[in-house]
Symmetry: C2
Subunit: 173 residues, 2 copies
């Protein structure tokens, strides 16, 4: 399966596409960080993000989209922009009928590094190893987007097996 | 001028259209509250809001859109949804090249009632009086959307006069 991971943000929106399935090596397809200027009105920054996400959905035709679940953090103004950017990303995917999953930062850290409190450097190092890259993707938003896509493939696989087991159990006479 | 006021929210998104100009009686064109169910995934709720806002922009062709500026409040989960809904509303307007203004709740309360700390009932009563309605619009989100549109017309007029004065001053030899 192919997954587009999105680490939403108004200033930097990370997007990473990964191909693969559970138990097999994963492959980096492409990664990018969409930037918008703080000097531009928020509405126009959001339109830029919408266009960027739509362009990647067109180009890479992912099977699913994984978006970081936004929580309140210390800087409230940042959270608002992040929430708005994540909303736009979700709408772009939902309009096309794509499955959308939200993963929390700690779920992503735990999935790629085994530690829900891993730091940026550790996440970057694990993404590099998992995707067999020469160097960690930069900036951190790029690595985070790839980590989201990796998490989705790994968790999605487990979820699919659970769903299949539940369906099988239900269909028993 | 015609203004669409939007009081954003995932569960209830108020939309109100007002015609008028500074110093003249304002007219209610239409008002509605878009509702989405908490049982539906957020991405699909946001698509419903997008469709609702787009439909009103098509139907009423406003000259400008006024959206409530979102602040952090006590309930963080509500703020996230509100921020996402406001982002979608802004994108719908920005895509069409419409001017978008953000007004804070206290700016709106001050504009319609003269008191930045007015309660819901006072805002509803003033909207009823200003638009010469028979009864306050319900629910409160409907009245708030109309109050936003009223605020925008009144503040926009003042801003336009300031801009004109600044331009005139600059053009003096």
């Amino acid at each position: 399966m192919r997954v587009l991971g999105i680490d939403p943000g108004l200033t930097r929106c990370g997007m990473g596409v990964v191909d693969g399935s559970v138990g097999r090596p994963l492959t980096l397809v492409d990664v990018n960080v969409l930037r918008t200027s703080a000097e531009v009105p928020v509405a126009h920054r959001l339109v830029t993000i919408e266009k960027g996400v739509d362009a990647w959905l067109d180009e890479f035709a992912p099977d699913a989209v994984a978006v970081e679940r936004v929580f309140a953090r210390s800087d409230v103004s940042t959270v608002m922009g992040t929430a708005q950017a994540s909303g736009i990303a979700m709408v772009c995917a939902a309009r096309r009928g794509l499955p959308i999953a939200l993963h929390t930062p700690s779920e992503v850290k735990a999935a790629v590094s085994g530690n829900g409190r891993a730091n940026k450097q550790q996440v970057g190092a694990m993404v590099t190893r998992i995707l067999r890259l020469d160097a960690p993707p930069k900036p951190a938003d790029a690595a985070d987007a790839l980590a989201l896509a990796i998490t989705h493939i790994w968790r999605g696989g487990a979820q699919a097996r659970i769903d299949a087991a539940v369906a099988a159990a239900r269909s028993r006479p």
